[in-house]
C-alpha cells in the first residue's frame, strides 16, 4: 500500500529540492573558454553574416565624461554597431572615479564586460595582472587606418613597458590646461600667460582679493587632481624615483625648494579655503563660482562655461602648464579601449574597436568631448581650431610630456600617485605643522615602502 507522506516529509522534500537547486546554481560551471582576440583580422566593414554570434549580451563599459552629448554619442555608436551586426548590446557608462573599484569587483566576480574604456595607468596595472588581451595586430591595423598614432598615444602602449605587447587602442589624449581669469589679471597688469609657476604665485599675490578671489585654485587634498603637485615638483627638478624606477629620490634639495615655494604660497593665503579637503570637483566649483583665478582642468570647466556661463568663458584664457626652475612638465596621457581576457566575444570586441576608431565618428566625438586627438587622422577635426581649450589640448597632445615623465612610468609610481603622497606631504607641513625635512623623510620612507613591494 502506498504510504501518504506526512507533513514534515513533504517539507523535507521541498527543502531538499531547494537546497539542491541552490547548490547547483552556486556550483554552475563557468562559461565556455573564451575565443582568442586579435585573431579575426576582419576589415572594418563587417556585416552581420561575417561575424560570429554573440555569446549572451555584448557588454561595453564606457567612461563617463562631463559632456552628456559625448556620452550619448558613444552609447548610440555602439548600439548602432550592435544593430548592424545583429548583436544584442548593453552599454554601461561608469563614473571614471569608480573605474578601479568597479573593474576590481568585476574581475573577482567574473563579470567583466567584453570591452571597456580605461586610463593608461590602470591599463598597465590590469595588463600586468594578465587581465587584458594583447592587441598588437589590431593596434597596427587601426593605426594604419587613422593615419598613424601620435607619439604620446604610441608611447601609452609602448610594449617595452609591460611584456612586449600592446594592450589598448588609444582613443584620446588628455591632460590639464591652465585656465586664468583675464578679467581679474589684466586690470592688475598681467596680460600674458604665466611662463613659470613662480609667476603664477606672484600674479596671484597681486591680483587676488580674498575672500572673493584667491589665486591658486589647485587641489592639495587626497584626490587625483592634487597630483598636479607631483608635476610641479618635477618642474622644480625633483624626482619621485631614480632612472631605474626602483629607488625613491624624494629626499632632495629640489624637493625642499619646491616645498618651500608651495608652503609659502599656502601660508600667504594664495589657495582658496578648503583646498586641502577638496573632492574631485573642488577646483571646478572654485573657478565656476568666480572664487579662483587660476585652475588646472582638462576641459570640463570649459564645457560648463560654454553651455552655462558664456560671460565667464569670455573672461577666461587658456595656456599650457608653465615651467619650473628646472624644466617645463606638461603631462599628457591616453585613454584607451581594452578587451579583457575573460571576454566571451573577443572577435566581436575587436570589430567594435575598429568601428569606434572611425575618423568621422571620432572628429564629431571630439567636438563634444574634452580630449585631444590620439591619431593623425583625428587632428584635422574642426574643433581643434575653433575652440581655445581644444587648441590647448591639441598642443598638449603634440608637445606634452608623456605620463609621469621625467619619472619612470611603472606600477610603483601609479601606486605612489593613487596614495596621493605628494599632496599629503604638503598637507603634513601646512596642516600638521611638521617641518619640511620631517615631511620629506616620512614621504621618502612611505614611497620606498611602495617601490620595495614591486622590487621584490
Amino acid at each position: 500500500m502506498r504510504r501518504v507522506p506526512t507533513k514534515w516529509q513533504r517539507a523535507l522534500q521541498i527543502m531538499t529540492l531547494l537546497l539542491l537547486l541552490a547548490v547547483a546554481a552556486a556550483c554552475a560551471a563557468p562559461a565556455a573558454a573564451p575565443a582568442p582576440a586579435d585573431g579575426g583580422g576582419e576589415a572594418a566593414g563587417e556585416t552581420a553574416s561575417d561575424m560570429p554570434a554573440a555569446e549572451g549580451t555584448f557588454t561595453y563599459w564606457g567612461g563617463l565624461i562631463f559632456s552628456e552629448t559625448a556620452n550619448q554619442m558613444l552609447v548610440d555608436r555602439i548600439e548602432q554597431w550592435g544593430a548592424e551586426r545583429g548583436v544584442d548590446v548593453e552599454v554601461v557608462m561608469i563614473n571614471q572615479n569608480e573605474t578601479v573599484q568597479r573593474v576590481s569587483a568585476a574581475i573577482e566576480a567574473g563579470t567583466m564586460p567584453d570591452a571597456l574604456d580605461v586610463g593608461r595607468t590602470f591599463m598597465d596595472l590590469l595588463a600586468i595582472q594578465e587581465q587584458l588581451e594583447p592587441l598588437d595586430d589590431l593596434y597596427a591595423e587601426i593605426g594604419d587606418s587613422v593615419g598613424g598614432w601620435l607619439p604620446a598615444a604610441d608611447e601609452s602602449t609602448n610594449p617595452d613597458r609591460i611584456d612586449g605587447h600592446r594592450y589598448g587602442i588609444p582613443f584620446s589624449l588628455g591632460g590639464n590646461v591652465l585656465y586664468r581669469r583675464a578679467d581679474v589679471l589684466e586690470p592688475a597688469g598681467f596680460t600674458e600667460a604665466p611662463a613659470t609657476w613662480e609667476e603664477i604665485a606672484d600674479m596671484s599675490r597681486a591680483a587676488q582679493s580674498p575672500p572673493d578671489t584667491y589665486g591658486m585654485g589647485f587641489a592639495l587634498s587626497n584626490v587625483g587632481d592634487a597630483n598636479i603637485t607631483t608635476t610641479m615638483l618635477q618642474a622644480w627638478g625633483g624626482r619621485i624615483a631614480d632612472d631605474a624606477g626602483t629607488t625613491c629620490t624624494i629626499d632632495s634639495a629640489e624637493t625642499r625648494a619646491f616645498l618651500e615655494w608651495i608652503t609659502t604660497a599656502f601660508n600667504d593665503g594664495l589657495f582658496p579655503p578648503g583646498a586641502t579637503t577638496w573632492d574631485g570637483a573642488g577646483d571646478n566649483v572654485a573657478y565656476q563660482s568666480g572664487n579662483a583665478i587660476f585652475i588646472a582642468n582638462p576641459g570640463s570647466v570649459y564645457l560648463y562655461m560654454r553651455d552655462e556661463d558664456p560671460e565667464l568663458g569670455d573672461a577666461t584664457r587658456y595656456s599650457a602648464f608653465p615651467a619650473g626652475p628646472a624644466m617645463r612638465v606638461a603631462p599628457v596621457d591616453a585613454n584607451l579601449r581594452v578587451i579583457p581576457t575573460s571576454s566571451k566575444n573577443k572577435e566581436l570586441a575587436v570589430d567594435l574597436l575598429k568601428y569606434l576608431a572611425d575618423p568621422e565618428f571620432m572628429k564629431e566625438y571630439y567636438y563634444h568631448a574634452i580630449y585631444g586627438p590620439a591619431a593623425q587622422g583625428y587632428v584635422d577635426a574642426p574643433i581643434f581650431t575653433e575652440s581655445p581649450v581644444h587648441q590647448g589640448l591639441l598642443d598638449l597632445a603634440l608637445n606634452g610630456t608623456f605620463g609621469s615623465l621625467p619619472d619612470v612610468n611603472n606600477p610603483a609610481l601609479s601606486e605612489y600617485q593613487t596614495n596621493f603622497l605628494t599632496p599629503r606631504m604638503i598637507q603634513r607641513i601646512v596642516v600638521d605643522g611638521v617641518s619640511i625635512d620631517d615631511a620629506i623623510a616620512e614621504t621618502q620612507e612611505a614611497c620606498q615602502a611602495i617601490y620595495d613591494k614591486y622590487n621584490e
Binding site: L12, L18, V100, L125, S221, P272, R428
Partner: protein, 319 residues
C-alpha cells in the same frame, strides 16, 4: 513556534522506542519528537546555508586574503603577517586607529546622551508628540550621500550657511574653514555622523520606554523616589537590554561608516579624519586586496572584544 528538540532528547527518545518487530516492516518509524526535531532542523537549514555562504565564507575568506599578497585577478601567496606589519609602519595607520576611536566614542556618547534625552522627552505627553516622532526620523531616512553632501555645503567656508550665521551673529569675523582645519575637521564629521544616526537611537529607546510598566513608576513615586531616582532605578534597568544592543549595533555601523568621512573630507586634511574604511578604500585603489583586507580585518579583535563584553552583560541580565 516550537523549538527543535535537542539531540539528547532525540537520543533518549530513540532509546525508549520499542524494538521493531521483525518481518513487519524494515523501515524504522520516527517518534513524534524525532520527527519534530528533524523538521525544525530542515526548516532552519536554508537560513544556515545562507549564513554560511553569505556571511561565514566571505568573513573567513577576508581573513585568509589579509595573510596573502593577493592582487585583483591574482590568487596571491601566503605572506604571514607582512601586510599587517606594512600597515603598522605607515603613519596613516596610527592616525587611523586614533581617529576611529575618537569618532566612534564621541558619536556614540552623543547619541546615547542626546538620544536618551530626546526619547524621554518624546515619551512624555507633549503637544504634537506624533509629529515630533515622525520628524525625528528624517535624518535617518535621508540617503547618506545627500545627508553628508548637505553637511559639507553647510560647513563650506564660502557660501556655507553655518559660516553665514556665525558671521551675521558677530561670533566670528571671517569665515571658518571647518573641514580643512585640523582641529575642526573631526568635530565636523562627528557632528554630521551624530545627526545622521541619532534617530535610530531615539526610536529604539522610545520603543523600549513604552514597554516599561507604568506601575513601576507609580510604585517608585509612592516610595518617594524623585525623577532622577526613578530614571536610575526604574527606567535604566528596564531598558538596559535595548541600550546594550543599540550600542553594539551602532558602534559597528559607525566604525564601518565610509560615506561621512569620504564625502566630507576624503580622510583629510592630512590624516586628520582618516578611518579604517577610507584607508581600506585607498588600498583597493592600488588593486592590493591583501593589504585592503588587512585594514578591515585588523578591526576584528576590537569588535570581538566589544561583542563579548556586551553578550556577557546580556547573559548576566538574562540570568
Amino acid at each position: 513556534m516550537r523549538a527543535p528538540a535537542p539531540f539528547t532528547d532525540i537520543i533518549m527518545a530513540e532509546q525508549a522506542a520499542p524494538a521493531i518487530p521483525s518481518g513487519e516492516t524494515q523501515r524504522r518509524r520516527l517518534t513524534l519528537s524525532q520527527s519534530n526535531a528533524l523538521l525544525g532542523y530542515f526548516l532552519v537549514a536554508p537560513v544556515v546555508v545562507c549564513l554560511l555562504v553569505l556571511v561565514v565564507y566571505p568573513f573567513l575568506f577576508a581573513i585568509w586574503i589579509s595573510f596573502t599578497d593577493r592582487m585583483v585577478g591574482q590568487p596571491g601567496k601566503f605572506v604571514g603577517f607582512e601586510n599587517y606589519l606594512y600597515l603598522m609602519r605607515q603613519p596613516s595607520f596610527q592616525a587611523t586607529i586614533r581617529n576611529t576611536i575618537v569618532l566612534v566614542v564621541s558619536v556614540q556618547t552623543l547619541k546615547l546622551v542626546l538620544g536618551m534625552g530626546i526619547a524621554l522627552l518624546l515619551n512624555q505627553p507633549i503637544r504634537g508628540r506624533q509629529i515630533w516622532r515622525g520628524l525625528i526620523l528624517l535624518p535617518w531616512a535621508m540617503p547618506a550621500f545627500v545627508a553628508f553632501i548637505t553637511w559639507k555645503l553647510l560647513l563650506a567656508p564660502q557660501g556655507g550657511a553655518i559660516n553665514h550665521i556665525l558671521i551675521s551673529l558677530g561670533l566670528v569675523e571671517t569665515h571658518v574653514d571647518f573641514l580643512s582645519t585640523k582641529a575642526l575637521a573631526m568635530p565636523s564629521v562627528i557632528a554630521a555622523s551624530f545627526w545622521r544616526g541619532f534617530p535610530f537611537w531615539v526610536i529604539a529607546f522610545l520603543a523600549a520606554l513604552q514597554n516599561v510598566p507604568k506601575e513601576l513608576y507609580e510604585a517608585a513615586a509612592m516610595d518617594g523616589a524623585g525623577a532622577w531616582a526613578r530614571f536610575r532605578n526604574v527606567t535604566i534597568p528596564s531598558i538596559r537590554h535595548v541600550v546594550l544592543v543599540v550600542i553594539l549595533l551602532s558602534t559597528i555601523w559607525t566604525t564601518n561608516s565610509f560615506e561621512a568621512v569620504w564625502l566630507m573630507t576624503q580622510g583629510g586634511p592630512s590624516d586628520a579624519t582618516m578611518t579604517f574604511p577610507v584607508l581600506a578604500y585607498f588600498g583597493l585603489q592600488s588593486l592590493r586586496i591583501g593589504e585592503a583586507a588587512a585594514v578591515s580585518v585588523s578591526l576584528l579583535p576590537v569588535f570581538g572584544i566589544l561583542i563579548f563584553i556586551i553578550a556577557k552583560m546580556l547573559q548576566e541580565e538574562d540570568a
